[in-house]
């Protein structure tokens, strides 16, 4: 098959990357990158003829020959970046600018000794064996062209290792800032590796933001390994500017009796594709994967989730909600595989979409493949506008049409953001949602989101 010029461009980029300065890497890494870029060249960019990309035309992104960020950039406004750090993680944050770790903006002083939170480039040298064993451990590159592309450029990102029985109270933030200068078309391939050992617990926040409005491409891969009886709370925020193309792939592997609670907040980007693949590979695990996407203008926001139940007696719950306005499009594809051995699996998936305009479109597709016979699996999806009776109730108290819509829309978001366990992180997420709603969707004053004192079961 002839290699298209879009792919050839990235092969040439990778050769240049391998040739300059990346040559300090250990040979296992060079081999890994080489295998990966080969895999990408065989697959090429997906098109709408590929099942997993049926609703999401990635051609606008594929056509642009993005180049890696060079050294010639305007200096970053440090104060501005400081504002972007989640205030609960001021002393537990790694900051990356255009994919490059920036130690001057990072601060891990709140973290106890023994916990490793550092840039991947350093971990590749200092914890080589551990990194080598875990990178691409559970990620079938031949099915994920963007992960293969990312793997061809593995270089920097975050490395987090929480030792056994260690409980980290303060949330750790991995903040990725793109300078996104206009008239440049740059790409970064952040690579994150998170290892949480037996009976440990941690909350992580992975945020993507842009400072400028220029066109740029972020192709991120995050791998998380959750050992037996460990608990991980993970919030991913995709909040880049309107010029961004964002493709994020998260792979999670759970061992027995572990808990993974993930939350995806997708607000930004021109095209944003967020994959969450969770392999439930032990008994009695709990998996929660929830999310909220708010789209406006001409945005396309796509979530593809995959939960692979391999072992018995596990439970999973997915609740994704979307607020879709303007001429935007959203996609939710939730695949659940319950293998034959996974008896007594209890799995629930819900996708609710609020359409706020006539031109907005929603594609929602549950995919359930169930091979065990003693299981409980339910799924449901709704797409609709605001409820007439609820609108009437608000208006009957004197509130006008637009403000009434705003009130109900803010309330719609609250159900799902309520699943974020850390209260202050939940407020941070609520704040970002409200800001987007107010600036781009329903341009009226909105209530602060309050969460029930009594959580539903």
């Amino acid at each position: 098959m002839a290699i298209g010029k879009e792919v050839e461009h990235y092969l040439a980029e990778q050769r240049a990357f391998e040739g300059n300065g990346a040559s300090g890497a250990p040979s296992w890494l060079k081999e890994m990158r080489s295998t990966a870029i080969d895999s990408f060249s065989r697959q090429g960019f997906p098109t709408i003829h590929d099942e997993d990309w049926r609703f999401t035309d990635i051609l606008p992104l594929a056509k642009i020959p993005f180049t890696r960020y060079g050294k010639d950039r305007s200096p970053l406004n440090v104060a501005r970046v400081g504002e972007l750090v989640y205030r609960g993680s001021r002393n537990s944050v790694l900051v990356f600018v255009d994919g490059r770790f920036d130690p001057s903006l990072s601060d891990t002083s709140a973290l106890p000794a023994g916990v490793v939170v550092r840039d991947l480039a350093a971990a590749i040298l200092s914890q080589s064996e551990l990194v080598r064993q875990n990178l691409n451990r559970n990620l079938p590159l031949q099915k994920h062209p963007f992960a293969a592309l990312n793997s061809g450029f593995i270089d920097d990102g975050a490395f987090v290792h929480i030792p056994a029985k260690t409980h980290i109270e303060v949330p750790i933030e991995l903040l990725f800032v793109s300078t996104a200068e206009v008239n440049r078309k740059n790409v970064s391939h952040p690579r994150n590796l998170i290892l949480v050992d037996e009976t440990a617990s941690v909350t992580l926040l992975e945020s993507y933001v842009s400072v400028g409005e220029g066109t740029h491409f972020t192709n991120a891969v995050t791998e998380v390994r959750v050992a037996s009886e460990a608990a991980v709370d993970y919030v991913k925020i995709s909040g880049e500017s309107g010029g961004a193309y964002h493709v994020g792939t998260m792979e999670v592997h759970q061992a027995s009796k572990s808990r993974f609670t993930g939350f995806s907040l997708a607000l930004g980007g021109s095209i944003s594709r967020n994959d969450f693949n969770i392999t439930v590979d032990g008994e009695q695990c709990e998996t929660m994967l929830d999310g909220l996407y708010v789209s406006s203008g001409d945005q396309l926001i796509d979530h593809h989730t995959f939960i692979d139940h391999k072992r018995p007696e596990c439970s999973s719950r997915e609740i994704f909600k979307g607020i879709v306005a303007g001429r935007s499009r959203t996609v939710f594809n939730g695949k659940i595989l319950v293998r034959q051995e996974a008896q007594k699996t209890d799995s629930k998936q819900t996708n609710k979409n609020l359409l706020l305009s006539e031109k907005a479109t929603v594609d929602t597709k549950p995919q359930l493949e169930i091979f065990a016979d003693d299981v409980k699996c339910t799924h449901g999806a709704t797409v609709g506008g605001l409820d007439g009776t609820s609108l009437f109730y608000v208006k009957s108290r004197g509130v006008g049409e637009e403000a009434a819509q705003g009130v109900l829309t803010a309330g719609f978001a609250s159900e799902v953001t309520g699943f974020i366990n850390d209260e202050s992180l939940r407020e941070h997420v609520d704040g970002l949602v409200l800001r987007k709603l107010r600036d781009e969707v329903i341009k009226v004053p909105l209530p602060d989101i309050v969460h029930s004192m009594v959580k539903p079961g």
């Binding site: 007439g388 009776t389 609820s390 009437f392 109730y393 608000v394 208006k395 009957s396 108290r397 004197g398 509130v399 006008g400 049409e401 403000a403 009434a404 009130v407 109900l408 803010a410 309330g411 719609f412 978001a413 609250s414 159900e415 309520g418 209530p447 602060d448 989101i449 309050v450 969460h451 029930s452 004192m453 009594v454």
Partner: protein, 252 residues
Amino acid sequence: MLEIVNLHANVGGKEILKGINLTVKAGEVHAIMGPNGSGKSTLAQVLAGHPSYEVTEGKVIYEAKDLLEMDPEVRAQEGVFLAFQYPVEIPGVSNSYFLKAGLNEIRKYRGLEPLDALEFLKLLKEKMKLVEMDASFINRPVNEGFSGGEKKRNEILQMAVLDPKLAILDETDSGLDIDALKIVANGVNKLRNPRNAVVVVTHYQRLLNHIVPDFVHVLVNGKIVKSGDKNLALELESNGYDSVKEEAESLA
């Protein structure tokens, strides 16, 4: 204050109100009673402007204005309040924000300055005493997780805050035990004054022991078939609606 003339309304293509005539003056309490399906709630919701109902004939004059021409929020701004039979839950939005938003819109309409957060909180706490609700309800999402009694009391709290001229209580007593009923009735009674009016829609007589009506109207099959004073309610309780139905049919 309110004049309903030959009001016909339908929902889902089916005619429910078949010619209602009713006059309510300031300072009065009117009770609308009737068997299930007679159109009591329909009447209440049509007056408040529920979008599911279509008025096919007749008019409603409120304070010399055409009520049916007004959007629901305008009716509220003009001083019409409906206490819902099934109050709606609004997850994620606090009781206090909800009420402050409504109140300030109504104040704006009336040419009054909006209340700021502190002033509003003071007002809210004062009104909460009327319906014996404690401070925890201030920040809870509207009606979410509230018991039936709490939802109905919350409706009366809203009424107390918004200070309407015409309050319509749609089966406010349904699902309430006697203690909750008394609290609700007490709240309503304390809000009465010579400038406002209340229309109480109810199936059972017992609420009317506590909110004593000046006039009682019996609604059967979309029409008011009999009107009287509070004794009519007691009569209905002993003899049931059938006796009134028969009487109405014999006169037709």
